[in-house]
Symmetry: C2
Amino acid sequence: MTAIETTPLARKLGAFVALSETELSVISQLHQRRKAVVAGRDLVHQGQSDQIAYILAAGWVCSYKILPDGSRQIVDFQIPGDFLGLRSALLHTSDHSIEAISDVEVSEVLVSDLLDIFAQHLRLATAVLWAASRDEAMVVEHLVNIGRRSALERMAHFLLELGARLTLVRMGNKQGYYCPLTQYHLADALGLTAVHVNRVLRQLREKGLLTFRHNEVIFDDYHALTTLVGFDPTYLDQTGPLLS
Amino acid sequence: MTAIETTPLARKLGAFVALSETELSVISQLHQRRKAVVAGRDLVHQGQSDQIAYILAAGWVCSYKILPDGSRQIVDFQIPGDFLGLRSALLHTSDHSIEAISDVEVSEVLVSDLLDIFAQHLRLATAVLWAASRDEAMVVEHLVNIGRRSALERMAHFLLELGARLTLVRMGNKQGYYCPLTQYHLADALGLTAVHVNRVLRQLREKGLLTFRHNEVIFDDYHALTTLVGFDPTYLDQTGPLLS
DNA sequence: CGAGCAATTGAATACTTTCAACGGAGGTGG
DNA sequence: CCACCTCCGTTGAAAGTATTCAATTGCTCG
């Protein structure tokens, strides 16, 4: 059982509904068809059809779109326990690419298997629906972040949100977390230049708010950060509403 | 039957799958519990719980979020035929507000009714799932738009997308369309200032690309516009992939 | 007609990008 | 083992883009 509990997906869903042993074992069965991808490689290409879905078991990936002029926008990052390409699989076509940021392990999931499981374990269906809705809410929050916040606030909000997500799968806490993203990743995600990302990070450091160095995010003043950007993690950990 | 065909929802879904008369009548039955909202009023408030879903029958609305500092970001506009608050209804809580831009008519939809219909008419379920996925894809495209395009390109892309959506419900074409949005709406949607929106619209006009005046968008040079921003409406009218 | 809202314009300011250059860490091949 | 290359991070200065502040016009509505 201990082994079962340790899959990030189980941890994430478990934060939302208490899972029975049966349900936990069903989740672990989803992780059968393993596949490894090395850092930097694309897992899915924009426009690729007949897309399969994955559960991210280890490592970090990002979903992005490339514009005609060559610039790219990262839509969001996925961390262990997150689904990849669920919507694309349903639509049989991917409208974005997925890049492995670090070395990555994924579990292939057949949509048909998933649907079978939903039919038999309604609580799991509910939990996955919750996860999908949360993903959508994060994209919306990302949109708001880019549209209406200054570069400094954007960065702070982004790193706070990431911290909250990582905390849910026990890969971070209010002190900080390990973060394999480069400043180029941050730039492409936040709609900034890598150069400006660098300056913004320096500002945050000099203000004693947070330090991002050597792949480590350290919250120097968590409280000040949250008030600076009005960070409200409600949309991430709403435990309850869906339970009924 | 003519009366039935004319609901915007039927027109939209009909653009995706050919609908039988039975299906058309089921759709029209969804429009029973009518409700009117006057322009400027909020239909849904951020944080409101026990949310009900709606189908927009007439008029325009927008979904938005207010930031702690008072600024707002419009996430998305809805036009006749679009669902409102489907996700919020499922989650029993709304994470955003919905404003009626013009006088509006909506049809209340009980989630339970909708689920019943899905069970009986699988093609309709598919079509609605398609619509929901398209909505999500539009939010993603909106994110890319704000993150990686200049103000001018943003505006052009946005007005093109809106035109494509309106065309789908026969409320616009490649010549142009009626558009009740103010420059403030555009600003809040595109992450700009109303002042700057004004200047950008002037540029577009002076370049002979498009004219937005007196609530009318006129594409002066549709082709030049699409190439300017690399507008690719694939994500809007993908007829096919989901049919299987 | 006055009030209020939307659109418009100018000038000054602030924010972000661009261009250019350099340092350090890690990996490769001679 | 070291030279060399590349990728990432860092910094300065100049240029460009968007915002802010302020003021004016036009229009609609009561």
